[in-house]
């Protein structure tokens, strides 16, 4: 992936899907591009305006816990974020992300600072922190999830194979 700026969330651990995209917007706005303008609005007002295409979101443990709303990964993807990098992910969010074609990876994110320029290398399973000259090993992405990403999400996967292809 291309290099981009790291947006380290102020609330680092247990960032829930209500914080990613509030329930009040989820019911009001059906278009994901419009919804994206409100990401993290309740915890960091004005967050959307700080994002440039290709940037990364960086967080701690249990990112995406709480409700099953798929609008959460959609809003992140449509905001132009190339990947979410966190210490760990809640399971529904993890599935949803790959199902819609948003890349999420786990690694030790404690050394990444807000504004660092970073780059995700999926092939070598590394986060390269260009600002700090660091290389952080990431957890491998399960093979099925890699396929979903390659196929542009689970719908693309189904269209291609007609079924789940393990």
């Amino acid at each position: 992936m291309k290099k981009g700026k790291a947006h380290v969330l102020k609330i680092f651990d247990n960032v829930n899907t209500d914080y990613i995209i509030s329930g009040r917007y989820k019911f009001k706005i059906a278009n994901m591009k419009d919804l994206a303008k409100y990401i993290f609005e309740d915890i960091e007002p004005g967050f959307y305006k700080k994002i440039s295409k290709g940037d990364y979101i960086v967080a701690g443990e249990n990112f995406g816990c709480g409700s099953s709303r798929e609008q959460a990964p959609w809003a992140i993807k449509e905001a132009g974020i190339s990947a979410v990098i966190a210490k760990s992910f809640a399971r529904i969010f993890f599935r949803n992300a790959f199902n819609i074609g948003l890349c999420v990876v786990s690694c030790d994110t404690s050394s990444i600072k807000n504004g660092d320029v970073i780059k995700l290398d999926l092939k070598d399973e590394l986060v390269i922190n260009i600002s700090r000259g660091e290389r952080i090993k990431t957890m491998p992405i399960p093979q099925l999830m890699r396929k979903f990403l390659d196929d542009g999400g689970v719908i693309g996967h189904f269209k291609k194979y007609g079924d789940f292809k393990i």
């Binding site: 329930g23 816990c65 399960p142």
Partner: protein, 421 residues
């Protein structure tokens, strides 16, 4: 090597022997969506290019999150769901039927040993009926809608045993808050939690559903219990199900990643403070917190037994004049029975507002959105910032008895001061 409940049920649905860590394709017995997730399910179904749902009888939709509709946007979503139900001949529980996690087991869509997916994170609720049930996103659910199956990673299991005796004024909600407060919001991420012990066995099925419902608040994928005579009676009474209810048990030598025991004999009524479910304190320590709104209902605690507890406390009493007390019976059947038993009259006479069966103000779309700086105490399962519609408000979670006692006093209160013997 012995197997856990999750390993057994996923193996039987995959048609091959599985162990924790395996990834497999499993047949799904039932799946559903609600009005917060069904619009995207329908979109993903259409995008998939498939013309038909896999099995119309194995899917339904429930309109519960914003029901009746509070605005045009939601009305359009509801219309889309009704149109889809008609064209695909799938089930729809429309406004007023109740909260999905109460309606689905009530109407016989859940059996012990079954595998169920719902496009709602609290789908883990049916673990109390020995089902493996879990929440997924909309596109995920749509893949099951078109194929009748989905992919599963077999989770590692955690064994929790609850010992002791529940004291007066202490309920299964307090047990759930005790466990979540101890293990944390991330304490069981991706695990299947199995609940055991004399306390669980003595609880009613309704009270057990409260505990399974909150398993996801510590990150669990499943929160499952054994099927017993009470489960059989529940299924028979509610859905006339008499067969295939033996259920699945774990082997004695099954492998667990964590084994925890709790003695709850000295447990006191608990409250989860803003803005996290694992931020737990005794109700009696929070008596300085004034409240503006009290809410009783939801998939966690809006069942008949909960309404009975509340009506016994509220009988011939008035709630505090500063407090708005909102009550949403969790289903039409519960509502109807509560009318018959006189609970609803008690609520109205006490000064409460009874709203239609559904999620009520829990998800922040209508029926009791808080003003800036206001404080609510709720019998729901989440108190995240903004959950009830306003990020500048504060939500405390507790048992229906604690919520109701707080409504009487206008501040957070220990229900033991209000329970009449």
């Amino acid at each position: 090597m012995g197997k856990t409940i999750a390993e057994k049920i996923l193996s039987s649905h995959a048609g091959t022997e599985l162990k924790a860590g395996d990834i497999a394709i499993c047949k799904v017995d039932f799946c559903f969506g609600q009005d917060g997730t069904s619009s995207l399910i329908i979109d993903s179904f259409k995008k998939s290019g498939r013309k038909k749902v896999f099995s119309p009888s194995k899917f339904c939709m429930v309109i519960d999150h914003s029901a009746p509709s509070p605005n045009v946007g939601v009305s359009e979503i509801h219309k889309k769901m009704r149109d889809f139900a008609r064209s695909e001949k799938v089930g729809l529980y429309d406004i007023g039927e109740g909260v999905c996690h109460v309606v689905i087991p009530e109407r016989g869509h859940v059996r012990p040993g079954s595998l169920i997916l719902g496009a709602d994170s609290h789908t883990c609720t049916y673990g109390a009926l020995n089902a493996l049930s879990t929440g997924v996103g909309s596109t995920d659910l749509a893949m099951t809608l078109i194929s009748g199956k989905n992919w599963f990673r077999v989770p590692e299991s955690v064994k929790i045993t609850v010992n002791g005796i529940l004291r007066k004024g202490v309920y299964s909600k307090d047990v759930a808050l005790r466990i979540i407060g101890d293990l944390g919001a991330n304490g069981c991420t991706y695990n299947s939690v199995e609940f055991y012990g004399p306390v669980i066995r003595r609880l009613s099925v309704e009270a057990r559903l409260t505990i399974s419902n909150m398993a996801v608040e510590m990150g669990a994928k499943f929160g499952v219990m054994e099927a017993d005579a009470k489960v059989a009676a529940y299924l028979n009474e509610n859905a006339k199900i008499n067969k295939g209810i033996e259920g699945v048990t774990a082997d004695k030598d099954a492998k667990y990643v964590k084994i925890k025991g709790y003695d709850i004999s000295s447990l006191e009524p608990l409250v989860a403070k803003p803005h996290a479910v694992d931020n737990v304190a005794p109700a009696m320590d929070l008596s300085s917190i004034r409240i503006d709104e009290a809410f009783i209902g939801t998939c966690t605690n809006g069942r008949l037994e909960d309404l009975k507890i509340v009506s016994e406390i509220l009988k011939n009493r008035k709630i505090h004049k500063r407090v708005r007390c909102i009550i949403a019976p969790a289903s039409k059947r519960i509502f109807s029975e509560a009318v018959k038993r006189g609970y609803i009259k008690t609520f109205i006479d006490a000064g409460c507002v009874v709203v239609s069966p559904g999620c009520g103000p829990c998800v922040g779309t209508h029926e009791g959105i808080l003003a800036n700086g206001e404080v609510a105490i709720s019998s729901a399962n989440r108190n995240f910032k903004g959950r009830m519609g306003n990020p500048d408000s504060f939500i405390y979670l507790a048992s229906p008895a604690t919520v109701c006692a707080s409504a009487l006093e206008g501040k957070i209160s220990d229900p033991r001061n209000h329970i009449r013997v």
